[in-house]
């Protein structure tokens, strides 16, 4: 709730009453830059389409919004350019070009066809994704808006047809189609209320005010005729820019010039609320609008694994260049020394391949050939295979029923598939609060009146903790101790705590002592009455009667206030009407009596600001008694109590602590009686101050308010639950147990953030809160250096307190606010700040701007080098979402900005657990296995070429048919590895969730580290060596079959290739753990298909094929036993080291997933529940946050061994 604006958020009818604070500071800026003629943008209202021939017609962009990457015309060039920007693809492009020359060791199709397939596939994917964006744009562009056409009539047009200068009418709950200048609203004084959630994530309404003194005729809600037919005016204003909160310009009308400020600007994608309709002039359209200026092209993100993969590709390129140079020098030397005597080559005649008189040129020429020949080292299909796999993985995420939200009907959506495996490597989660962790709905849950706690329903935090504790007890065979006095939970007598039974929104209070007018029987019923009255009167909301149901709802500036009013209504104090200076409440003061209407005349309203942290009303009740009701933050109120008003202070404080621990938001309520004289004296001073125009007016008013709000008597306190989204505490707990760090970045004020910290278990009692705050005074007065010095010293002392911590379990929480953060994020301090932050168990940043959110994310990302995940739901999170390695948008609520900017969208925060721990883990394992295998299989093939080439005098001859090479990557070995990448699972989803520690395999990158990669590369080198040597030795030089014939080059080639096919397929079989019929079919299918290809290709008439393997399989190789013996032998020998390795590893050094697989296989999870539970508890990372940590801390504190459990945990679970 931004303070400046909150102050304005009052009903139009209240406006005159409380117009204490006027124009915010931007007025000054406007005045400073006010050179009236200097505005570059000139808009002629109501003549948008008139082209002016005499003048340069102002060219404004249309309201058509496009977020697509390409247009129809630039798609091919740009997309192709992007494709060939990848070094591997560029290499293959050059190689493909060269295949048409004589340098090529093979025919053009073997190079061009795979490249065309690979690039074609990528282009198709790009096209598809861009089309989707286009369709999304189209739906936005085709929304309807009422635009003034002529003679006052309005016509429905599509958004994209709206032009600058048009007058547009927007009705209640509609979005603004463009940035509008507010002319008139349904309120007489031109007020209108706007919800800007899509822009900044704030859910409270903002006030916009039309120009005063414009003297337009009264606004009529009539689409046919309005008074705009002859409304001609000119707006001069600033050029489009991305600053949401500034706007300067002026309006020229009827010879007068009116200055404009942001209060008149209605921004696109915000929504009109509580106002029947408004008229506005379109100022900025389409891409000129503030919101579009704020959307930057989302940076294309690549996962860590892919970045590392690029390094491997560079490594392979290095190897490629190395062996090419070896080959070229070998060839050069051969040309210089030996080839001269090889008469059968007619070396005297220089050819395209060599010239014995110029061995250097021959060597260089051969380098080109070699670079192409060994190009198979670099897997051409790797990128495309990975892309295909990731698309399929993304489909699994989209189709996961466990990620589908039944309530909103929104499934998860992987919007980019680039980052699937990155989900398995997340280290830090940076989360938004409102809308992400919480629903932004307040529930009145408990209260303390006259020191007596009421409200028996436990908060979600308490519930979750109780459950957790019970579960822990179950698994710890009773050695762990009790939780008899589990938090402050009291269970209702019948044990019925069906939490969500209450259907009243905002009211979850349950306590018979207060409900149904039972409070009359309570000992302090007079205090209770006062308490309810304060709830019903001390606020700035207005009641609204729903047209459909006739029910009263309240439009309050904050959801807390709404919850209070609902609570008051439920207690029998129904606030029904607000007039200019009175509040009417229907009070039920007797059990069986009709409620009576009481009118309280409001004399003064001192409204709530985040600085004051309190609000008061001074009123006169029906008996004529002057009263002041006050509600505010407990610390503030407690400071202002009269000495005789502290009767309940001690008891209330205790209750407040309990509420705080239970994650509830608390406010204290107090009152005081006023004498007429006292008030009238004060009011005079106050009124004078109000109408004064001195520069110290604000301060004066502040002082006077302060003077009045003293000497209060404490009545009680309220505890409101900021309702968390479903399952948030549990989810945070599981994520914490999986070793993830969670930071909360919120635009909310510090108290709220801390409350949520408690309710999410990011904070708990006993955790040391390190607040880094600079006081407002200091910010205002002190020089920047001093402020920074101050912050630095705070950071240093905090750091010291962490370093000097005594107990092992001491945990720290860092809480910092936005202003301080501005300094802390500066270059000279940010790493100190980061260092402090990473040493804290939880970090909460409050009052941070969208930009700061992004900066914090960047700091964590770059400072720690770990993977960050940003999650949020509002447009204010867009920066963060884009900046983070993975951006997740919460969909399902209104506003799609976050989702549009995100990489993945989920409906609820709780789905994050499954997304990361299950899908992330799987994808990480799959992709890493897949990439390693890919490199392996290509090295295996390419090096056999090298060995053979060495034996041909480095002449660049291949012993495989061109088609083998072509088919190898795109066809013969692609399916099994795709199946592996899509379907492989090391352990099932349940186990992933039950053993969160397994997740750490990803962030620690255990499966794609250089040891593993080098191991795989070495395995490939070994395999190629064995395949080559053994086959050569078996087939040469003597006869290879009974009929006495000897093997020629292509026979050996085919035999060798057969070995390769077998080796790599058996290898992938050994790599897989989860073999569905898909994998089995692809693996065996590849082998069978290979034989079929050789057979069928061999049957093809020689005119069609190169003829090298004509009839080879049936005639030459098929009948030779050696062919089969060599295949079997090579297959076994190549895989033997790997087999020994995994056998040994599994037997004596098993990894976690190995043991779990075995347990699963032995059904230990069913037969040995006790062990199973125990291991689950142990399978966690040490964490100081989350429910479990909270329970642990509590256990430690108790340290007792009595066992008594609240039945709560069981009955609720």
């Amino acid at each position: 709730m931004a303070k400046g604006i909150t102050a304005k958020l009052l009903r139009s009818s209240l406006y005159t009453l409380t117009n204490i604070r006027t124009k915010p500071s931007y007025k000054k800026e406007a005045a400073a830059t006010e050179e009236l003629s200097g505005y570059p943008r000139v808009i002629n209202i109501n003549q948008p389409a008139v082209p002016d021939d005499t003048q340069q017609p102002p060219i404004f962009c249309t309201n058509y919004v496009s977020t697509t990457k390409y247009t129809l015309f630039n798609f091919l060039p740009i997309a192709l350019f992007e494709q060939f920007n990848r070094v591997a693809n560029f290499y293959f492009l050059v190689a493909a070009g060269l295949t048409f020359t004589d340098y090529a060791p093979f025919d053009w199709p073997s190079q061009v066809v795979p490249l065309a397939l690979v690039v074609g596939f990528s282009l198709a994917k790009e096209l598809y994704e861009d089309l989707q964006r286009h369709w999304q744009d189209m739906t936005a562009n085709c929304q309807k808006a009422a635009v003034h056409v002529k003679n006052g009539g309005f016509e429905t047009k599509q958004w994209r047809e709206v032009c600058v200068g048009d007058i547009v009418k927007v009705k209640k709950d509609e979005f603004f189609p463009a940035d509008l200048l507010l002319l008139q609203s349904s309120y007489e004084d031109g007020m209108s209320y706007v919800e800007t959630m899509n822009l900044d994530g704030e859910t409270n309404l903002k006030v916009k005010r039309a120009l005063q003194n414009l003297s337009l005729p009264a606004a009529v809600d009539d689409d046919k005729a309005s008074h705009f037919s002859d409304f001609l005016a000119t707006i001069r204003c600033e050029n489009p820019n991305s600053n949401l909160y500034t706007f300067t310009g002026n309006l020229e009308y009827n010879g007068h010039i009116y200055p404009l400020d942001p209060a008149q600007l209605l921004l696109r994608d915000s929504k009109l609320r509580n106002t029947e309709f408004v008229y506005g002039v379109v100022v900025f359209t389409g891409n000129d609008t503030k919101v579009m200026q704020n959307t930057t092209q989302s940076p294309s993100k690549r996962s860590e694994i892919e970045l590392q993969m690029d390094k491997i590709i560079y490594l392979l390129f290095g190897l490629l260049i190395f062996i090419s140079i070896v080959s070229a020098s070998g060839f050069g030397l051969a040309v210089r020394n030996t080839i001269r005597s090889w008469w059968y080559l007619v070396p005297e005649i220089p050819g395209e391949d060599f010239d014995i008189n110029n061995f250097v040129a021959s060597g260089l020429r051969h380098l080109v050939t070699a670079l192409m020949l060994y190009g198979y080292l670099v897997p051409i299909s790797l990128y495309v295979s990975i892309e295909a796999v990731k698309i399929l993985q993304a489909r699994f995420i989209n189709n996961d029923l466990h990620l589908y939200d039944e309530v909103t009907g929104v499934p998860a959506n992987a919007r980019t598939s680039n980052l699937n495996e990155q989900l398995g490597q997340v280290d830090t989660i940076l989360s938004d609060k409102t809308g992400t962790l919480t629903c932004n709905q307040m529930d009145f849950l408990k209260c303390s009146i006259a020191g007596c706690p009421y409200g028996k329903r436990p908060s979600e935090v308490e519930l979750a903790a109780a459950k957790q504790m019970a579960a822990q007890d179950e698994s710890s065979d009773g050695s762990l101790s009790d939780s008899s006095s589990l938090e402050a939970i009291t269970v209702t007598d019948d044990g019925n705590i069906n939490k969500k039974a209450s259907s009243i929104k905002g009211f979850s209070f349950q306590d018979d002592r207060l409900e149904h007018t039972n409070w009359l029987k309570e000992p302090n019923s007079d205090v209770i009455l006062l308490f309810f009255r304060i709830l019903a009167v001390c606020h700035s909301a207005i009641p609204e009667i729903s047209e459909k149901t006739g029910e009263l709802t309240y439009e309050a500036e904050s959801p807390d206030e709404g919850a209070f009013l609902v609570a008051a209504r439920e207690f029998g104090f129904q606030f029904i009407k607000r007039t200019q200076n009175s509040v009417v409440v229907k009070e039920r003061l007797k059990k069986d009596q009709e409620p009576v209407e009481k009118e309280y005349s409001i004399l003064t309203l001192l409204d709530f600001t985040s600085k004051r942290k309190r609000m008061s009303v001074i009123l006169r009740d029906e008996s004529g008694q002057l009263l002041m009701f006050c509600k505010g933050a407990d610390t503030i109120i407690f400071d202002r109590l009269a000495s005789n008003g502290k009767t309940y202070l001690e008891a209330t404080t205790k209750n407040l602590n309990d509420y705080g621990e239970a994650g509830l938001r608390t406010l204290a309520l107090a009152y005081k009686k006023l004498e007429e004289k006292e008030y009238s004296d004060w009011h005079e001073k106050f009124h004078n101050a109000q109408i004064s125009s001195g520069s110290n007016r604000e301060e004066l008013l502040e002082e006077l308010s302060d003077e009045m709000e003293r000497g209060l008597t404490l009545v009680g306190a309220t505890a409101v639950e900021d309702k968390l989204q479903n399952g948030v505490p549990e989810c945070i707990d599981r994520l914490a147990l999986a070793g993830l760090k969670i930071w909360v970045l919120t635009g909310d004020k510090m108290e709220t953030a801390i409350n949520i910290g408690f309710s999410c278990s990011l904070l708990r009692q006993g955790m040391k809160q390190l607040c880094i705050v600079v006081s407002a005074e200091m910010l205002a007065e002190a020089a920047k250096d001093v402020v920074k010095e101050n912050i630095l010293s705070q950071i240093t002392t905090s750091m010291q307190s962490i370093q000097n911590k005594k107990e092992p379990h001491a945990a720290f929480a860092l809480i910092i606010d936005g202003k301080t953060l501005t300094y802390a994020l500066e270059d000279d301090m940010k790493f100190k700040f980061l260092n402090l932050a990473v040493n804290c168990a939880s970090v909460i940043c409050c009052r941070v701007s969208p930009k700061q959110k992004a900066l914090v994310v960047r700091l964590v990302k770059e400072g720690t080098g770990r993977t960050t995940l940003g999650i949020g739901d509002g447009a204010n999170d867009v920066g963060m979402i884009k900046e983070a390695d993975i951006g997740i948008g919460i969909s399902g609520v209104e506003g799609m900005q976050a989702v549009m900017a995100s990489d993945f969208s989920i409906a609820q925060f709780r789905f994050l657990e499954r997304l990361l721990i299950v899908h992330g883990h799987w994808c990480y394992k799959r992709i890493s296995k897949m990439i390693c295998y890919f490199f392996y299989k290509n090295i295996t093939l390419a090096l056999t070429l090298f060995y053979f080439e060495a034996e041909t005098g480095f002449s660049g001859q291949m012993h495989y048919d061109d088609w083998y090479m072509l088919l190898y990557n795109v066809f013969l070995t692609s399916c099994p590895v795709l199946a592996l990448g899509v379907l492989e699972k090391d352990i099932c989803a349940e186990f992933c969730l039950q053993f969160p520690a397994l997740y750490q395999q990803g962030p620690k990158n255990l499966f794609f580290d250089w040891y593993r990669i080098i191991g795989w590369l070495a395995n490939g080198v070994y395999a190629s060596f064995v395949i080559y040597l053994v086959n050569i030795r078996i087939f040469s030089p003597e006869s290879f079959r009974k009929e006495g014939q000897t093997a020629d080059m292509y026979v050996i080639g085919t035999a060798m290739f057969t070995s390769i096919i077998w080796v790599v397929n058996v290898q992938i079989f050994l790599v897989s753990h989860y073999l569905t019929s898909v994998q089995l079919h692809t693996i065996w299918g590849s082998i069978v298909v290979w034989y079929l290809i050789v057979y069928i290709y061999g049957l093809m008439p020689v005119q069609w094929s190169a003829g090298n393997i004509y009839q080879q399989l049936p005639e030459v190789l098929g009948p030779a036993y050696k062919f089969y013996l060599s295949t079997v032998f090579v297959t076994i020998l190549c895989n033997l080291p790997y087999l020994i390795h995994i056998s040994y590893q599994r037997c004596y050094n098993p990894e976690d997933h190995h043991v779990l697989q075995e347990m699963k296989n032995m059904k230990k999870d069913v037969t040995d529940r006790k062990m199973w539970k125990r291991e689950q508890v142990k399978a966690t990372q040490e964490t100081e946050i989350g429910l479990s940590a909270r329970v642990d801390a509590r256990m430690r504190m108790k340290g007792k061994t009595t066992r008594k459990y609240s039945s709560l945990a069981y009955s609720s679970s």
Binding site: S1036, Q1045, V1102
Partner: protein
């Protein structure tokens, strides 16, 4: 919101729900093999028990093969030319006939295969491999399709380049030593038919393609061809044209269909025409029988035995480890968090 749109919205919402299938939910039934000690030991034993017999049988088969290798390139150069071998071999007038003796070590049963073996001869060189025209070999219609055959593509017949058939370096460098074997004054008949692959004689070498202008250039390579016999019948050419994979290679020369007894002495009368001297290549005459694994090759058997042995050793190794230091399957104490605790 009116009920109609509400309903429409609702149905739209439900349609967003992913459909259940075992595939999309990643619940396909799968075989999840676990490498238990039992499996490990069994598979190593299985490989051992498969490989050792194969190795033995292969070795035995290789043992049974009788192979006589007779290197003659050195001996067949007359004393006087030893200092200047190329003068001898290049001169068409010198007497190239050479006589040598070989002894049969063991009884050789027919068919006995006669091979020539060349050494350091790069038939796999790219220039060499490329230098042929399959089209031309296949059919007389493509006689002038000699593009790939450079530098032996055309013969400049009085200013008019005419195609050489068969063109290219491979054919041009045709091996042309000849062997005659005499056993006890009786000539052993070497059958030179049926040494080429059927697919070659039937399809790849045309029966209507006759050699033309072959070896007519100044530069003479290897053997000449009888211009009256179609290529499909010139089996020695066909064998030669299948280029060998390695610089040391053997090619089939012919077959002997009589058996040779142990200790038989065979006189070899050969024409030492082919020039391997300039690049230092050896020439060998090889007589060999075959078994089911082909010619004599101990490598296969030894390799199988070695790997079989390794697997047997690994199996024993794992059995011993299993007996003395077993790891119970699914023992939670091996989980990383428990091991960390121990450490």
């Amino acid at each position: 919101m009116n009920p109609v749109t509400n309903g429409a919205l609702k149905s739209k919402k439900t349609s967003k729900k992913p459909e259940y299938s075992r595939f999309t939910q990643q619940e396909l039934p799968a075989w999840k093999p676990i490498l238990t000690p039992g499996w490990v030991i069994t598979s190593f034993l299985a490989i051992a028990f498969l490989f050792i017999p194969i190795g033995l049988v292969s070795l035995f088969a290789s043992e049974r093969v009788v192979e006589i290798v007779y290197r003659y390139d050195q001996d067949c150069v007359p004393e006087m030319y030893r200092g200047n071998v190329s003068a001898y071999i290049r001169n068409s007038l010198t007497n190239k006939t050479c006589i040598g003796n070989i002894t049969v070590p063991k009884k050789m049963d027919p068919p006995i295969f006669v091979y020539y073996q060349l050494d350091n001869f790069y038939q796999n060189h790219r220039r060499y491999v490329k230098s042929r025209s399959d089209k031309q070999l296949r059919s007389a219609a493509y006689e002038s399709s000699t593009k790939e055959c450079e530098p032996e593509a055309r013969f400049n017949k009085s200013g008019d380049p005419v195609p050489i058939v068969p063109c290219g370096l491979i054919a041009w460098s045709l091996f042309n030593d000849t062997y005659n074997l005499i056993k006890k004054d009786k000539v052993l008949n070497i059958n030179k038919k049926g040494i080429a692959w059927k697919s070659d004689t039937k399809v790849k070498f045309g029966s209507n393609v006759y050699p033309k202008n072959f070896q007519s250039n100044d530069l003479i390579g290897g053997g000449k061809l009888n211009e009256s016999i179609p290529l499909s019948k010139q089996e020695d050419l066909i064998v030669w044209m299948r280029t060998a994979a390695l610089p040391t290679f053997r090619k089939l020369y012919g077959k002997i269909n009589t058996s040779l007894e142990a200790h038989d002495t065979i006189t070899v009368v050969l024409e030492n025409n082919y020039n391997t001297y300039s690049f230092g290549g050896q020439k060998k005459l090889v007589l060999s029988t075959t078994s089911w694994i082909g010619g004599k090759n101990d490598f296969l058997g030894i390799a199988y035995l070695t790997v079989g042995g390794i697997c047997l050793f690994m199996a024993l190794n794992f059995i011993l480890l299993y007996v003395f230091k077993p790891r119970p399957l699914g023992d939670p104490s091996y989980l990383s968090w428990n091991r960390k605790a121990v450490n």
